[in-house]
Structure formats: structure tokens, C-alpha cells
Amino acid sequence: MATQIDTHPTALPQQVGQLTTGWKLAMGASFLLLVVGIVAFIRELSTGMIATGMRNVGTMGGASWGLYITMVVYFIGVSFAGITIAALVRIFNLRQLRPIARIAELLTVVFLLMGSLAIIVDLGQPVRGVINLFRYARPQSPFFGTFSLVIAGYLAASLIYLYLGGRRDAAKMAEYPSRLQRFHRWWAAGYSDTPEEQARHRKTSFWLAVTIIPLLVIATSTLGFVFGLQVGRPGWYGTLQAPAFVTLAGVSGTGLIIVLAVIVRRMVHDKTALGIDVFAWLGKFLLALVIVYLYFMTVELLTLLYSTPEVEKQLSDALLFGQYAWIYWGSVALLAIPAIGLMWQALTRRWNVGWLVAAGIAVNLAAIGKRFLIVVPSQTHGTLLPYEVGSYSPSWVEYGVVLGLFGLGALMIGAFVKAFPPLPLGDREEVTADA
């Protein structure tokens, strides 16, 4: 613990409390996106779901689950990887990954909140929907697991994990006078870094991690079952849905952790805080997940093309050669090209942070594309009843709301990193008096 006590205002480590021009610009842009999202959502509330591009399946030739549900699946997927990496760091004592544990936990909490909001905006009657969920949800339905385990259990576990893991650093930060001292003192909650407290924290975080891992695998698999258990919907019904959901969740989350870690590294002006070994580990982990997911995609493709019944044939044609082909092949390219690049870096053992960021962004775009393809085409081209083929295009309201959610997420992350150190404080980091 630091021993230097001063009554003057202090410059806190990792740029905490220092609102730089770049940060203000980024937050201003995020706030604008949030305003766009709020305006779009008000429009949706006032005119009803007709303001969106969603229409009834079959009778209206549309899709009743569209961009919002696509983003729900994507957001929850990102959160899955965040907490998985944070938990693995604790369980297997992966020392080299400790610096990114808090970033991963933060990403989990923020994206879970965004996922919850994405579900709410998809409901025509949000308040009624939320109340009735707690009133009537049935455990026989995979939605029960999604809402109870993902939104409640998973979010609670992640918040507790983030809070307890930050107490030591909060205690360090609270020793020095700053505008945030009261907040840091509250977070520390009397922590004094005694050997007993350290041992207690190790034990708690280990058992929390052990609890969280199965919880989140069940929760994310349940989200896959929402689609995978629908017998009457070609393209959804299948055993690969749950494991493919979990794998793509890992891909998108790991990609975003890389991007956020690089932003944090630049923000704290300390490249040694997050060394290349951390990025090499994340790159290899991302590569392994992308390869597994590409394998799932290949198996799925071969199954679709082999002795396909009529409706499945219609669906596979739409995916591979029809109106969704550009999203399908675009997603394949956005997974395959980063995989080749990552493999090259792994073989040569020369990791380039810029390339890793590009790979992280690319696999996230691919993940959004793939989530869209999971959600939409089975509704427009997969009806077993004799309806005409349908179509779905999101309206500006849906794009606006989704942009607003991203803006909100960026604001939450931006506010956090200016209120609390995004990387664990090392013993070498002293809080220095402001000049």
C-alpha cells in the first residue's frame, strides 16, 4: 500500500479523474448517439411497433424478431466472454492475464445491461412485459433460463465480482485526497489489505468464479435453446445451436476485450501495463475460438446442402445465393481473414497490436452478421405453412435505438475508467502529488 499522504489534490494513477480532450470528445459523441436512441425509442413508444421494420411472420411476410433480438444475442455473447476470461484468470491463477481481468468484468456488466435494454425495447409493452415475466415465466421455456440466469443471476454475479475485485485498489485510491475520495472509500468498505483479508478475498473470488462458469455456460446455452428447440422452424432447430452460440459469444467477447484493452493501454500512457504477452494470449485464444466456430459453420453448411428438404433448401439458397448471401459470405470473410492473420502471427510469434485490433473489430462485425442470420432468415424463408417468402429490413427507428445502446455502453465504460483504475494497481504505482 502507498504510504505517502498529502492533503493537497492529487493526480490519481491511470488518468483517473482527469478529463482529457479526447475523452470529452468521445463522451460527447456517445451522448449524441444516446440522444438519437432515446428519440427513436420515444418514436417507437408513441407510434407502436409499426415504426420498426418488424412484421408478423407468414401472414405479413416479415420477421417478428429483428435487429433488437440480433443485438440481444450479440450483447449477451460479448458479456459471456468477458466474465469467462475474468473467472479463468482467478481459477487457474493466470498471472499474465490479471491486468485485463477488470476490463473483462467491466465489459460483462455493461454489455449485460445493454442486452437487458435491447430485450425491453423489443417489447411493444415494455412495462407489462417485464412485470409479466416475473409473474408468469415458466421454467419449461428456455426464456426462463435466459431471463433468470442471464439477466438476474449473471448480472448480479458479475457486479459482485467487479465490486469485490476492486476493493483493494479502491482502498489505495481512497488514501489520497481527490474529488473521488468518498466514492473510493465507499467502494473499499473498510478494506485494509491485511493477510486475512487477502486470503478471504482469494477464497471468495475462487468460489465465485467456480460458480459463475457453469452458470454462464447454462445461461448462454439457454439462449441458443430459444432458437434450437423450435421444432417447426427450419434453420433454428438443431443440436449445434447451443455450442455454436457459446463459441461465437467467445469470439465476439474476446475481440472486444482486445479492442478495449488497447484503448485503455493508450489512455493510461503505459505500454508496460499491458504487455504484448497479454495480447499474444488473447490472440491465440481468439484464433482457437474462430477455428472452432468456422468448423461449426462448415458442418452446418454441409448439413444444409446434403439431401435438403424443400423449406431448408429455400432457406439455404437465401443464405448462400439469395438476399442474405452478402451478409453470410461477408461474415465468413470477416472470420476467415482474421483467422489467417492470427495464425500467421502465432506461427511467427510476432504479434502486432494494430492487427489484433483490426481482427477484434472484424470478428465482431462477423458476429453481428451471424446473429442476424440466425434470427431473421428462418422467419422470412423458413415457414412450414404455405406462405410467400418474406423479407425484413430494419427501420431508422431500430438503427437509432441500437446506436443509442452503443452510445449508452460507451458512456458507462467512459465514466468507469475516469472514476476507477481500469487496470489493477501494481505495487510500483504510487499516487503522486499534483504539480
Binding site: F134, R135, R138, A152, A156, I160, A189, G190, T204, L208
Partner: protein, 69 residues
């Protein structure tokens, strides 16, 4: 004391989860009308159970030992 409260919270959380789950899942009901939860807000009880059990970690870390007082 701290260990006892933690254990009680975990046990209480599991009991709430069981009560909520069994209340929300009327196994054996064979009609839609009978498949509503046995009592209103049973799913909420399940969710509260999950949160109570997980919050035991907070108690374990934050509650002071009696001998340290």
C-alpha cells in the same frame, strides 16, 4: 458468525430457488390453463434466490470477524 451468515444466505438462496422453481413450473399440469405458476411472482422468487445465494460472497468478505471488533 460471518461463516454462519454466509452459509445461511447460501442455504436460504437455494431454498428460495427451489420454492420459486417448483412454484413456477407446475409439473404434471396437462392443460394450458393449469400451467400457470402455482402462485403469482414465483419466477421472481427464483430470481431473488439466485441473487441472495450469490450475495453471500459480499457478506463473507464485508462482514467483520467478531474478534476483530
Amino acid at each position: 458468525m460471518r461463516r454462519n451468515v454466509t452459509a445461511a444466505m447460501i442455504a436460504g438462496g437455494i431454498v428460495l430457488m427451489l420454492v420459486g422453481y417448483l412454484g413456477a413450473a407446475p409439473w404434471g399440469a396437462d392443460t394450458v390453463a393449469n400451467s400457470d405458476p402455482r402462485f403469482s411472482f414465483a419466477p421472481a422468487v427464483f430470481v431473488i434466490g439466485v441473487i441472495v445465494a450469490l450475495s453471500a460472497a459480499l457478506v463473507y468478505e464485508l462482514m467483520p470477524d467478531r474478534r476483530n471488533k
